[in-house]
């Protein structure tokens, strides 16, 4: 079972593909500046929307920034969504619903 934390509406992925060197630099010199920048952006709704709109185009950056914000305590983990990723972990009834959904979609796609 995977627990995905959402705070600002930024996406849920937590892995990072940002190169190590850049991360080290950000981790050292730039992190206070980045933290202030994120804080400022989150505090201004219009700017926040624009920033999120832009960030969503770059999933790797989005993931990395989200992780940075969470780890830096900049984002409140206000909402918890429990997510499943394996049908075998579903309850019997959920599995029946899953199978019904899959077959209904397949049938629909065949007809199309």
């Amino acid at each position: 079972m995977l627990y995905v934390f959402q705070g600002t509406g930024i996406g849920s992925g937590m892995s990072s593909s940002i190169p190590q060197t850049i991360r080290r630099h950000i981790g050292g010199l730039l992190s206070p500046i980045l933290a202030r920048l994120i804080q400022f952006t989150l505090a201004h709704p219009t700017l926040k929307i624009r920033a999120l709109d832009w960030i969503f185009r770059y999933p790797v950056l989005e993931e990395w920034l989200y992780r940075f914000a969470v780890e830096g305590g900049l984002v409140t983990r206000g909402m918890t969504v429990r997510a499943y990723s394996d049908p075998s972990k579903l309850t019997p009834n959920a599995r029946i619903i899953y199978n019904n959904l899959k077959s209904a979609i397949e049938l629909h796609n065949k007809r199309d």
């Binding site: 995905v4 705070g7 219009t46 929307i49 909402m79 918890t80 969504v81 619903i97 979609i105 049938l107």
Partner: protein, 840 residues
């Protein structure tokens, strides 16, 4: 009677729950539930906000039955600002609608449709056909009035327009003021007769004039860095709040006023943007006497309202404007702008100013700060005006509106649209699957959400799940396990008021499974059908941890909280608290785990103890150890049964049984029953009997019980004891049948235990009319009352003396008889337990 289903997401989302919408949602719905006038209130919550559910259940704890709080599950993110969530958002909206429809309300009421842009709330109207009237609150249309500030981004615009369409599709639109009503009607082209005003209010028990002690005042003001009399603003920072004009007006106040007062800006957002505001204030030369407090709690807010000399609210547009009402309710002098809803709220021409005119605002403030008569007038009027707004009145007017609307609606004959919710969702998902992108994980999470939202269990009867995770793994049954088995046996074999299922799990598995093997054993049927089905819990069910398996209870805290959120009650049976009260009798790991288990227990709905003494001990222990709780923790107690014949007895006698029984009959035999462990007092008893034997008292000591822990020294004496097999007998692991015969052959039972949860041997002795010598501890008094001979002291001589005294009484037949002792059968005991649980 009207059945009202209320979507409470407005009190759940991080966007709304700490703002006016959250307060409106909770206070209005609480007032409706408190005085429902015979109407039925059902509250619906989104399971995607699990941290909010316990708090909301607690808010409604004594005013709405917990079963009227329904939760739908949404295990996927629908945050609308993320375009990748489009499929999920659509499906989430339908899931919510189908769930709300399934509750069969005459009215479905959403306290705020404008949810879900930054979190996983879903709101929509009539995506799915419904028989219910839909009522939605639109608090204001500020974003439509200031589109450049709020709706510049296309994602935001699309989301907002969609919500506005949902408002238009609603049968009843609620708003917070007549001013808003006109704006909504004009901007959205909604007929005026469809829009109804239900005023927000304040909780007058909280927001009221208060006398604040000098020490409290000093503490608060110093905490907030306030060092002079002050003028206060509370609220947001949005453009229409018109703070620039407030600053500008403040800067042109007379110098002596500026020098004497501080401007105190209260609010989260203000503090976050302090740098930005300070820059503006610096340019105006007034940065030094403006204070930003940041977030304040209700208590602090009320104190600030009470302490301020003046409250100013310069907003240009408000759907309602709660802060001025709160301030008036606390007796503050209030000035507010003369636009939008504020004249309705403030209700006094002299208290209003033109928000576009700095000079007008400055003059008004100067007058209020220098003219005490005017200030007193504002204060007096404020309290009077605030009393016109109450949640009770708002709830009453809303319920009247619902009653009339439903009456009018029911006169129109319409075919029912009620359908199978699950099939409906499948059909919808199928229909959008070719146009929107989603993946297999989305289907998995949707399936889990549907299964957890709609109870799919056949014939959906309320069920009591008894956890038997420990006994299912054990070959031999000791004290607690015997109790568990006896209760299960009773509940399974007899028809009950509620369906009973035995379930088990392991610490590493969050799910519960039907304990088929144990059920077969109890029902004495062949182990053919052992499917160990995965159990599904539905709202209204009860999970009782009957067995003691600390590892399971500790590891399942998250699962049990999930179940509690969903509406399943979770209880634990507490057999004793000995490892935390007398840790010297156990090894440290056990004590640590036991404490952790008790903490897990204290996070459930309640505990059912096996005696009043244990219940008292638990109550005391929780006073200092319980984590903070929002709902009360229920503690009840019952007594265990003692009819051996109904407790699935084990059979068999050893070869030497006749010889042992004959030896017991030859002289007075004192019996001890229970595991040989330090607290049971075997060492003291053996030493006492050594004294008696040395003094020529001819008596037997019979110890029945397996070797426990931390008794190595005792065993060094006991095993090779010169009286063993003569006047000292230690019988380990004997059958119930043999125990029965030993009871019959014995003269007296000794229970020297220093701590017990119940002390079943006392009752078992009474059943055999066997007299009792017992240590004077609360549970012995509770169980045996006047039917036992009590002793005190931890020295061998103390007990030896008691045995002598008892023997003297026994010889003249003046010893306390045990046969008058009250005891329960397992049938009665199980019934007591069941009644306690179902009474809830």
């Amino acid at each position: 009677m009207v059945r009202v289903v209320i979507d409470l997401q407005g009190a759940q989302t991080s966007f709304s729950r700490n703002r006016g919408v959250g307060r409106y949602t909770i206070e209005l719905v609480k007032a409706m539930a408190l005085d429902s006038r015979g109407n039925e209130i059902i509250v619906a919550l989104n399971g995607a906000f699990p941290d909010t559910i316990e708090a909301i259940r607690a808010e409604f704890d004594s005013i709405l039955p917990q079963e009227n709080i329904k939760v739908w599950q949404q295990f996927f993110d629908t945050t609308a600002i993320n375009p990748k969530n489009f499929w999920r958002k659509n499906v989430g909206e339908l899931l919510r609608e189908e769930f709300l429809n399934s509750l069969e309300g005459d009215i479905i009421f959403s306290t705020n449709l404008q949810e879900g842009i930054f979190d996983a709330a879903c709101t929509s109207v009539k995506i799915s056909p419904t028989d219910s009237l839909i009522c939605s609150t639109l608090h204001d249309v500020v974003p439509l009035i200031y589109p450049n500030a709020y709706l510049k981004e296309s994602t935001m615009r699309t989301w907002y327009d969609e919500k506005i369409d949902f408002i238009k599709k609603s049968d009843i639109v609620l708003t917070d003021s007549h001013s808003s009503k006109v704006e909504i009607s004009t901007l959205l082209r909604i007929p005026m007769e469809k829009i109804h005003v239900v005023y927000p209010a304040v909780n007058h028990a909280i927001f009221k004039p208060r006398s604040i002690g000098i020490a409290d005042k000093k503490k608060l003001l110093s905490q907030m860095n306030i060092s002079a009399p002050f003028v206060m603003y509370a609220g947001g920072t949005d453009l229409h709040k018109n703070l620039d004009r407030l600053y500008s007006a403040w800067s042109i106040l007379q110098k002596d006023i500026l020098g004497s007062y501080q401007l105190v800006m209260v609010g989260d957002g203000l503090k976050r943007e302090e740098i930005h505001h300070r820059n503006k204030l610096r340019k105006l030369g007034i940065s030094d006497n403006v204070v930003f407090t940041g977030h304040v709690n209700d208590e602090e807010l009320v104190m600030l309202y009470n302490l301020c000399d003046l409250f100013v609210f310069p907003s240009i547009n408000e759907g309602f404007g709660l802060p001025p009402l709160e301030a008036m309710s606390c007796g503050a002098a209030v000035l507010a702008s003369n636009t939008s809803s504020l004249p309705e709220v403030v209700g006094h021409q002299d208290a209003l100013f033109d928000p576009y005119d700095d000079v007008s605002l400055a003059k008004k403030m100067e007058r209020a700060l220098t003219d005490s008569k005017f200030r007193d007038l504002l204060k007096e009027h404020g309290i009077q005006q605030a009393s016109k707004f109450s949640w009770d009145m708002s709830a009453r007017s809303l319920l009247t509106l619902f009653e009339v609307s439903v009456k009018n609606n029911s006169s129109i004959q319409k075919p029912s649209t009620r359908r199978d919710s699950i099939q409906n969702i499948i059909n919808y998902v199928t229909s959008i699957s070719s146009s929107l992108s989603f993946d297999d994980n989305d289907l998995i999470n949707l399936s889990a959400s549907i299964a957890e939202t709609f109870c799919t269990r056949k014939d959906c009867q309320r069920t009591l799940f008894l956890d038997v995770s420990s006994i299912i793994k054990l070959d031999h049954l000791a004290g607690i396990q015997r109790v568990v088995l006896a209760i299960c046996n009773e509940l399974i074999n007899n028809p009950q008021k509620i369906d009973i299922e035995l379930v088990y799990t392991t610490p590493n598995d969050p799910e519960f499974y039907r304990a088929d093997a144990l059920i077969n054993k109890i029902l004495r049927r062949a182990q053919e059908h052992v499917s160990n089905d995965w159990m599904e819990f539905c709202p209204g069910d009860i999970l009782l941890f009957l067995d003691l398996h600390p590892g399971v209870a500790i590891s399942h805290q998250e699962k049990t909280q999930f179940l509690r959120n969903k509406g399943i009650s979770v209880y634990h049976v507490v057999y004793d608290l000995i490892p935390v009260l007398k840790p010297e009798f156990f090894w440290s790991d056990l004590c640590i785990e036991f404490k952790e288990w008790l903490l897990a227990v204290s996070k459930s709905d309640g505990a059912i103890c096996i005696s009043r003494s244990v219940a008292d001990e638990l109550t005391e222990w929780l006073k200092t150890n319980s984590p903070k709780r929002l709902r009360p923790f229920k503690i009840g107690w019952f007594h265990l049964g003692a009819d051996v014949e109904n407790a699935v007895p084990s059979r068999g006698l050893p070869d030497d049984a006749p010889q042992v029984l004959a030896q017991l009959a030859a002289r007075p035999s004192f019996l001890m029953v229970g595991t040989v462990e330090p607290r049971k007092g075997h060492a003291q008893t053996l030493a006492a009997f050594e004294l008696l034997w040395a003094d020529g008292v001819d008596v037997n000591l019979v110890i029945i019980g397996r070797q426990g822990w931390m008794v190595e020294m005792l065993l060094e004496n006991l095993r090779p004891h010169h009286e063993r097999g003569k006047r000292l007998f230690w019988l380990e692991g004997i059958s119930d049948e043999y125990l029965e015969k030993i009871y019959a052959a014995s003269t007296c039972l000794i229970t020297a235990s220093e701590a017990e949860g119940f002390g079943l041997p006392l009752i078992e002795a009474a059943q055999h009319k066997l007299p009792i010598i017992t240590r004077d501890i609360p549970v012995s008094r509770e169980v045996a009352g006047e039917h036992a001979f009590y002793f005190n002291g931890k020295e061998p001589a103390d007990l030896a003396r008691a045995v002598r005294e008892w023997l003297a009484l026994y010889q003249s037949d003046r010893h306390p008889k045990s046969h008058g002792m009250q005891w329960l059968t397992w049938k009665q005991s199980s019934q007591q337990l069941l009644d306690l649980i179902l009474k809830e």
